[in-house]
């Protein structure tokens, strides 16, 4: 792991000097700011049951589906397309260090972008003249959910990037996988054919992977170890598959 920090700092540096990062950040903040304003508008019209924070984080899937593929699609696909993966892997670095370094940079950017939305709540607090609109529980739970689930989402994006040579394919692949994870599991849980006894283990597994359920638990302040384990193990698995995918491409070059 000697070179992990070298690669991580290099990747972060490349993200920070790239204009597309700032463009993505600006668009992300514009979109989330628009949603935040809309939520506040509904609050000003009629009292609501949940706090603005939990309404805001309920929209987590929107940036996940669009931002994560955009942030991660480049990382391994571009290296392979341009051939720089060959020069990179013939230096004394391991594939693991390369994948983890790129993953780390993408994850930090993802979390950083979400961190910027903290400004919305700060503005709200400043102009609402107090804390009556801000419930710290859902706020902290929401950010914790973003940080923990982001581990898996970004890892899936990196895995998609490791499968493809073209950035566009990697992006579409990442989008599809994330969509399947977030919405697929929800619709599977409602499927009637899964209710038979024979398929009970599958049903349990599907219920275990309900991302929206996790979100609700987190914002209610329930941090379940099983859910943490789901994200941590999923992340590890996605990263291991990414490493294997990069190495397999080398074998069959």
């Amino acid at each position: 792991m000697k070179h992990f920090l070298t690669i991580l700092s290099h990747e972060i540096r490349m993200l920070l000097v790239s204009p597309s990062t700032y463009l993505a950040a600006a668009l992300f903040l514009a979109l989330m700011g628009y949603e935040f304003t809309r939520i506040l508008e509904t609050y000003s019209e009629a009292p609501q049951e949940v706090s603005p924070a939990s309404g805001f984080f309920y929209l987590f899937w929107l940036p996940v589906l669009f931002m994560v593929p955009l942030l991660t699609m480049k990382c391994l696909a571009e290296e392979r397309r341009s051939g720089t993966i060959e020069t990179l892997l013939t230096t004394p670095v391991t594939t693991t260090e390369v994948v983890l370094g790129k993953y780390g940079a993408a994850y930090l950017l993802y979390v950083g972008l979400w961190g910027l939305t903290g400004g919305f709540f700060w503005i709200l607090r400043k102009f609402a003249g107090g804390n009556q609109l801000i419930d710290p529980g859902p706020l902290e739970g929401g950010y914790l959910f973003i940080a923990v689930s982001g581990l898996l989402f970004v890892a899936i994006g990196v895995f998609a990037s490791s499968l493809a040579r073209s950035q566009a394919v990697a992006g579409i692949l990442g989008f599809t996988m994330l969509f399947a994870l977030i919405f697929g599991s929800a619709s599977l849980a409602d499927a009637g054919w899964l209710r038979t006894d024979a398929l009970h283990p599958i049903r349990t597994a599907v219920e275990y992977g309900q991302v929206f359920q996790h979100y609700e638990d987190f914002t209610r302040g329930v941090v379940d170890l099983r859910q943490l384990l789901f994200y941590f193990s999923g992340t590890t698995l996605a990263l291991i598959f990414s490493i294997l995918s990069v190495e397999a491409r080398m074998l069959h070059h």
Binding site: H3, V17, S82, E86, T91, V93, H253
Partner: protein
Amino acid sequence: MPEDPPIAIAVSHLVKTFGGVAAVNDISFSVPRGEIVGFLGPNGAGKSTTMRILTGFLAATSGYVEVCGFPVATRPEEIKRCVGYMPENNPLPEDMRVSEYLYFRGRLKEISRRKLGPRIDEVLEVCDLKRVRHKIIGQLSKGYRQRVGIAEAILSEPPVIIMDEPTIGLDPHQILIVRDLIASLRGRMTVIISSHILPEIEMTCDKVLIINQGRVVAQGTPAALRQELLGKSAYTIEFAGDGAQLEAFIAGLAPAVRLSLLTEPDASGFRSAELTAEGESDWGEQLLADCLAHGLRVRALGRAHPTLEDVFLAATRRSWDAVLPPPPGDRLSA
């Protein structure tokens, strides 16, 4: 690092197949330390594949490869430390500055921060890149990019440097610079370069390996290859006088020497004759003496050196002959 083995690279019975098709088919060779070796072969001959296996980027199907005394298959970390590699087409990140790129690569190659700065200045100087050190790589011309690739390969002063077509796409002036650069590494580093530009290999390399269809079809110094594959030398004489006389004394000179071409006299009365001589011995002096003894006025006598191109064509033709026609039944078993 082991105590400097005299053989830097040893390859024996290397085979690499891609989906049943052999790209490299039983190649064996060894390279002594400090030598510059050229891989020569037509496209698809297996040059790049062999180089990739030497760097440990690709795994061989079978065979044994040793670089700096380390087996490539089992000691990849050591191999990566002792090989500087520039792949085919020299891939570089487009959006980095030259000095940034070299700094990043230097850190990956485990050069300490303290030494890296002076070392980067040194390679920039050697590769004549000082003027573009703050430029973005994507905006550099091909010649500069190529030199950035070479600078990167020699950055950590590895004992072995492998470059896949380092001069492809360069103009003659840039080729000259790159050639001088490679020649300046002689003795200090073991260098393997591949090319299908023949004069270049001939001028830079101590040893040439001609590869065709995944096999080594010839190897040795350029001079030895000429001798082995062509086994003859050619002479041209420009003289004035009786052509029949020349024919007569050449027929009596030695059975190895034959007259292959005799032209009609030109405006000034001089003819030119071409002779081929089998074997290694030099007939030049003898020919000159005989011409003068027979009263022929000689204007020029020259020994034509067969180029590596002739050697290359002869070697690849020989290997095509060996491969074609296919043995009967081979197609059925495959």
